[in-house]
Symmetry: C2
Subunit: 386 residues, 2 copies
């Protein structure tokens, strides 16, 4: 199978959800899949062997960060990012476009690319679509992304249109650069559909990206502040444009609610920093809902975080001890809760894939949220729309 190619296994009879496989040189990924994020190559606080034990199939890194530190020369010498970080399994790198525009101090975008100043030391750099491809080839992730311009939320139509058109031009140059050598034999290039919340722009972006032709397609520029209904509307309009035999990746999403809602609309791949970021804040996902483990109510709660979870935090410690670690700022909780939240997301995706196997998507979704919101009646009412 071509690297990055998608195989459809089964479609839901109830909605656009689907079960499939994405093929990479480092293994086959069952979809729908959640990809934990390791911006600098390390999923924050979680050692590779634990990540593996969680059942995570593929992780994400960021080429903007890795290009600046440690630099592509180091990663190339290490034998690629998967060897460098000892994950040794499929990885995806974002192109760095989004981070360049959100993190760097000064930028100048021309049709050729983007000039930016490092957020680390202020040094000046220039990324063109070609440069982004070279960087991502050197980093060596299994799936790499087109260099794109991401319009901020609340961009007006004209801004979003120009940004989408620029991303399209860059995507063509990315493809050309990518296929200049043998990299396609071990890596695959995904295109990114832009267009902000404007459905006509999104549809045009999708159609024109398809004309260029990529192994898989991502939807970028969402989950950056827009209302959920706008995100769902984009998915509703864009996903039918993408052929069934291509993977669809929704970038930067999501929360447990998002995973169900967006799989329902046809998404195959997700990534988000939420599990680790929430973990570091003491916010924990459990089968009975989200809890803030710092709260006083857990000070004398000697039960495990989630009796249904097999992670080290749940099997090894009580809520009371984890609460104590948080309150005492003992760094051990950072790793334990980050890993727990990854276990939760991976397990959630397993539940979703199982529901698709049994063609019980809506029943399973309902069961999940009945439990998930059982701690919180207010939230349950919010969810009862389905």
């Amino acid at each position: 199978m071509e690297c990055g190619s998608y195989q459809l296994i089964k479609k839901s009879s109830e909605c656009r959800a689907r079960r499939g496989k994405v093929y990479t040189a480092r293994g086959v990924i069952d979809t729908p899949v959640f990809m934990p994020v390791g911006t600098h190559g390390s999923v924050k606080g979680v050692a590779a062997e634990f990540l593996k034990s969680s059942g995570a199939q593929i992780i994400l890194a960021n080429s903007y960060h890795l290009y600046l530190r440690p630099g592509t020369e180091v990663i190339k010498k290490a034998g690629g990012i998967q060897k460098f970080n000892s994950w040794n399994s499929p990885m995806l790198t974002d192109s760095g476009g989004f981070q360049m525009f959100s993190l760097s101090d000064i930028r100048k975008i021309t049709k050729d690319g983007a000039e930016f100043q490092s957020h680390i030391d202020g040094s000046k750099h220039f990324f063109s679509p070609e440069k982004s491809m070279q960087v991502q080839k050197d980093i060596g992730a299994d799936i790499i992304m087109c260099f794109d311009d991401c319009a901020p939320y609340c961009s007006d139509y004209e801004y979003a249109k120009n940004s989408m058109e620029l991303s399209l031009k860059w995507a063509k140059r990315c493809k050309e650069e990518f296929y200049k050598d043998d990299s396609y034999k071990t890596q695959s290039l995904f295109g990114i559909i832009q267009g902000s919340v404007y459905n006509d722009l999104r549809i045009r972006s999708a159609r024109e990206m398809l004309n260029v032709g990529f192994t898989g397609y991502a939807i970028g520029g969402l989950s950056i502040g827009e209302p959920k209904k706008d995100m769902h509307s984009v998915l509703k309009n864009v996903l039918p444009v993408i052929p069934e035999n291509k993977a669809r990746y929704l970038m930067g999403v999501g929360m447990p609610e998002d995973l169900w809602e967006c799989v329902e609309r046809g998404i195959d791949m997700f990534d988000c920093v939420i599990p680790t970021r929430n973990g570091r804040n003491g916010q924990v996902f459990t089968s009975l809902g989200k809890i803030n483990l710092r709260n006083a109510e857990f000070k004398k709660d000697f039960s495990s975080l989630d009796p249904n979870c097999a992670c080290p935090a749940c099997t090894g410690y009580s809520k009371a001890y984890l609460n104590h670690l948080i309150r005492s700022r003992e760094i051990l909780y950072l790793s334990l809760l980050s890993l727990h939240n990854i276990y939760f997301m991976v397990d959630l995706m397993l539940k979703i894939r199982k529901s698709l196997k049994n063609d019980t998507f809506f029943k399973s979704k309902k069961e999940f949220f009945e439990k998930y919101y059982s701690r919180d009646k207010f939230s349950r009412n919010l969810c009862s729309k389905k």
Copy 2:
């Protein structure tokens, strides 16, 4: 065997070093032993199962910190500190005297005890010897320490004398309080010898503590800024006073050099925050010496930290990747390097015990430091005195 009692196995024919066993309700400890420190009950950044895999036999917690947070009620309800933190193996608690005087904002010492303000919330508390015993009984460590007054380094003779005499009076009250119930069946109480750097005070303290009679004896108030020769002089004077059938614990020590030097002088037990604190600063102990892993020289060094170490950092990652984690402030390195340094200390004590078994203490010490200082000629010269 009585809890906390010491069994002498073998004495070195070359020096005062000795191999032995300390008996506790949760297991037998081979000495000389290094005890990793978990001030709040958690050895910083290291999960209990990893601590176990390092070969650590006993860890230390601090009753001052645990009393303030989470409070003894929580720990008692959890079934003791060893259940609370899932370590389930021998533990020792310091009495809190030292921390009370070094951390709390305001204090008033009377002959009855010490009034102090919490460093967390400013709340006022009073610790008497009796209170310290009650707190340490509730926490439930296998070995607990007398409540003492620790004179700062550079105290004049008069101050040190008064402080030592106060500690002695408190030690008597600690013993009385400790044996009021059945705690001695599962816990043991160690006395603490004080007297600053004044050998006559130290010898008097040791003799009078022996008159009171404890299961084991600690030497407190050292490694707080005094020159090494003063520490060694105290050990030389005090240790011969303590009978052979009692464990001798040197509090707050030490560095790899200290462990060899102080075992040589007759110490059985050590504790120190160095392995974890250094780990969090990127300072790593290896069989070839101490290195600062943050240094640029490791940026492209793809070899393992220490080929002789079996810890997850050494078996899973390269120096280059760990250097990248440090420079990118990726929290994963905090755990990995802390655990590595613990492995190093545990392994060092194993080497020392082995040298005592074979009665090759000085030969083994020389071999260790020839390797340990091989990276650094300056340090080697410093060490060549032996």
